[in-house]
């Protein structure tokens, strides 16, 4: 320890859009949003294979999966689901994006060009009420992962703190693509929160090639449903 990651930045490059998709300038203030957030343990070798060498794993290795439903935003309603690897950057806690999807093309364009995530178009079913919540993520090939949170218990929002999220953003210069490490932080203003002590993560279809399933849950740590205002902002350089 520390065990550094083994993934190259190139492995996170995405194809930039051939034609520019117009979107309103960032930041977007998205009020009335709801987030499902779950932490779970994963195999350390699998995590290290998907973590750039700037980062080190924790003990035990874990992931953070968060799904945010934005009913209001400058691009209209959109949803985003992100799978991030729990890690350390310069000994401090961080979360590195392994996969991220959205259901909105404009959010996708903004994500790819300005934040590094979300970077894939997909489908997200999302339900949330006083007694429970559920989300199902899919891509063009079918369902990837489902999160179910029954029996919510209200908690003080001040108990929650989320680490900054780091990602590789694809940038082009002189005709060549390269990966740039970027960070988003302090995006979430939490208004109400609840925890779920018996959250479940399910994999409806076998998709062994997908990071959503390669980074498979081995033990749920904790889960929360959070009402918040999100500021969807451009990423910056890590401090």
């Amino acid at each position: 320890m520390p065990d550094p990651g083994r993934a190259s930045r190139e492995s996170f490059l995405v194809k930039l859009p051939d034609e520019r998709v117009e979107y309103p300038p960032l930041p977007w203030k998205c009020s009335g949003a709801t987030m499902l957030n779950v932490y779970f343990e994963v195999r350390k070798e699998v995590l290290l294979d998907r973590l750039p060498p700037e980062f080190c794993r924790t003990s035990p290795a874990y992931c953070r999966l968060f799904v945010i439903d934005h009913p209001e935003s400058p691009v209209g309603p959109f949803r985003e689901a992100t799978l991030a690897l729990g890690c350390r950057l310069n000994m401090m806690p961080a979360a590195f994006v392994a996969a991220s999807i959205t259901d909105n093309p404009k959010t996708l364009a903004a994500g790819i060009c300005e934040r590094g995530y979300p970077n894939t178009l997909g489908g997200i079913e999302f339900e949330s009420g006083p007694s429970g919540a559920r989300a199902l993520m899919s891509d063009a090939k079918g369902p990837l992962v489902e999160v179910v949170m029954p029996a919510l218990q209200t908690i003080e929002p001040s108990r929650l703190a989320y680490d900054h999220v780091d990602a590789i953003k694809t940038v082009e210069s002189e005709g060549a693509a390269r990966g740039e490490l970027v960070v988003t932080a302090r995006e979430l203003a939490i208004e109400r929160a609840a925890i779920c002590k018996n959250a479940r993560i399910a994999y409806p279809d076998e998709r062994p090639e997908s990071p959503w399933q390669i980074l498979r849950n081995r033990n749920v740590i904790s889960a929360q449903v959070v009402n918040l205002t999100r500021t969807f902002a451009a990423a910056g350089a890590p401090q």
């Binding site: 320890m1 520390p2 924790t58 000994m91 401090m92 703190a161």
Partner: protein, 379 residues
């Protein structure tokens, strides 16, 4: 002010079949020397599954070996994890009493409840309940030690009437402590009349408020044991070098490795929103790299003269004892560790006898010199 040492039994990778054995053997040799030199307490943690950081899951076993090799030094179980799903309270009481017997009444009994997901999650324990579990267990154990027919029907464990054996040799029972890393726990220690076993490798400024609160509240405590143990231990890192440069190069590097290892543990506060762990919102990064390399005030890493100056801050804060880590696995060669202990005992310890401290207090009183100010609180 007195001095102790403590052990995490760190074992860095790469591991061989001999790695853990070597760590245990070297620690026992160090403890034998510390006993001869006049260190008055040795503590060992209880941790589970914390690879590299701590291979110390059976402290009673190791401490029994330490007790058998020493004469004077007090044997600190620091701590017994007081969570019934991990350790049944009767088993904790039995093992501690046996250790008190083996050591001839030298046991210091530390209590605590774990702070990492690795440990709490492995035993299926709800993090929200650990503080309550600890509180129930520490009230039961003194009764097990002192009553011939112990019976308990609590929220977290129950047992029919039994005589928990053996009984400790110390009358009425060994001193009780709790591991303290937050202001809340310092207050809870005081309210229960048990010793404050600082486990955060912080500065005197970090401890100042905790110690003040502890001293104020313990005057009106409702003790869980048969007596009040009004003592505060601070935790720090020791390397007493030949000169300032050697000390910082050798001791500073070892301290950095320890902190680096600690920073990669998965603390509960950051990933499990719980009222029981709010104070440790990230139990992960204990110090920044810059802070470690600059060796903050109060860190007894340096030449004997520098260490004396640093320890005066602790004296000013009013702790009874500073208990120190002395190596991270074999980052410092054994010969150097032993030499560091010897230099400390020869040049530093004599400056902190009761007589010397009284002289300093008297001098300060007559000259109006208030002694060294503790450095400002870290932000």
């Amino acid at each position: 002010m007195k001095f102790g040492i403590f052990y995490e039994h760190s074992v860095a990778k790469p591991w061989s079949r001999q790695s853990e054995l070597r760590a245990y053997e070297q620690a026992l040799e160090q403890i034998e020397l510390a006993d001869e030199l006049g260190f008055d307490q040795v503590w060992e943690v209880e941790h589970h599954f914390l690879e590299e950081y701590s291979h110390s899951s059976a402290p009673e076993v190791f401490l029994a070996a330490a007790a058998a090799r020493t004469k004077r030094i007090h044997i600190g179980q620091g701590i017994a994890v007081c969570l019934p799903p991990m350790n049944h309270p009767a088993r904790i009481a039995e093992r501690a009493a046996a250790l008190d017997l083996i050591s001839g009444g030298r046991l210091e009994f530390g209590t605590g409840r774990s702070a990492t997901w690795t440990e709490v999650g492995a035993f299926g324990i709800d993090p929200d309940s650990t503080k309550e579990m600890w509180d129930e267990v520490i009230r039961a154990i003194p009764k097990m030690w002192t009553e011939e027919e112990f019976e308990w029907h609590g929220k977290y464990f129950s047992m029919p009437p039994r005589n928990v054996l053996p009984k400790p040799i110390q009358e009425p029972h060994p001193p009780m402590w709790v591991a303290v890393s937050s202001p809340e726990t310092a207050v809870q220690a005081a309210e229960r009349g048990i010793g404050m076993l600082g486990v955060t490798l912080g500065t005197p400024a970090d401890y100042k408020r905790l110690v003040a609160d502890y001293r104020r509240i313990i005057k009106h405590c409702d003790p869980v044991g048969k007596f009040v143990n009004n003592q505060v231990n601070a935790a720090s890192w020791l390397y007493c070098g030949e000169d300032p440069y050697e000390a910082k190069a050798v001791g500073g590097a070892a301290a950095f490795q320890f902190f680096q290892s600690a920073a990669h543990l998965l603390g509960l506060g950051g990933i499990y929103p719980s009222h029981a762990y709010t104070a440790q919102a990230n139990a992960t990064a204990l110090l920044s790299q810059a802070e470690i390399f600059s060796l903050r005030e109060g860190f007894p890493v340096g030449s004997p003269k520098e260490i004396i100056e640093n320890l005066r801050y602790w004296e000013e804060v009013g702790v009874e004892r500073v208990v120190m880590l002395i190596n991270y696995d074999q980052a410092i060669p054994q010969k150097k560790v032993l030499a560091s202990l010897e230099r400390f005992a020869k040049y530093v310890m004599p400056e902190f006898t009761d007589e010397k401290a009284a002289e300093r207090r008297e001098k300060a009183r007559t000259s109006g010199d208030r002694g060294p100010e503790a450095p400002p609180m870290a932000t």
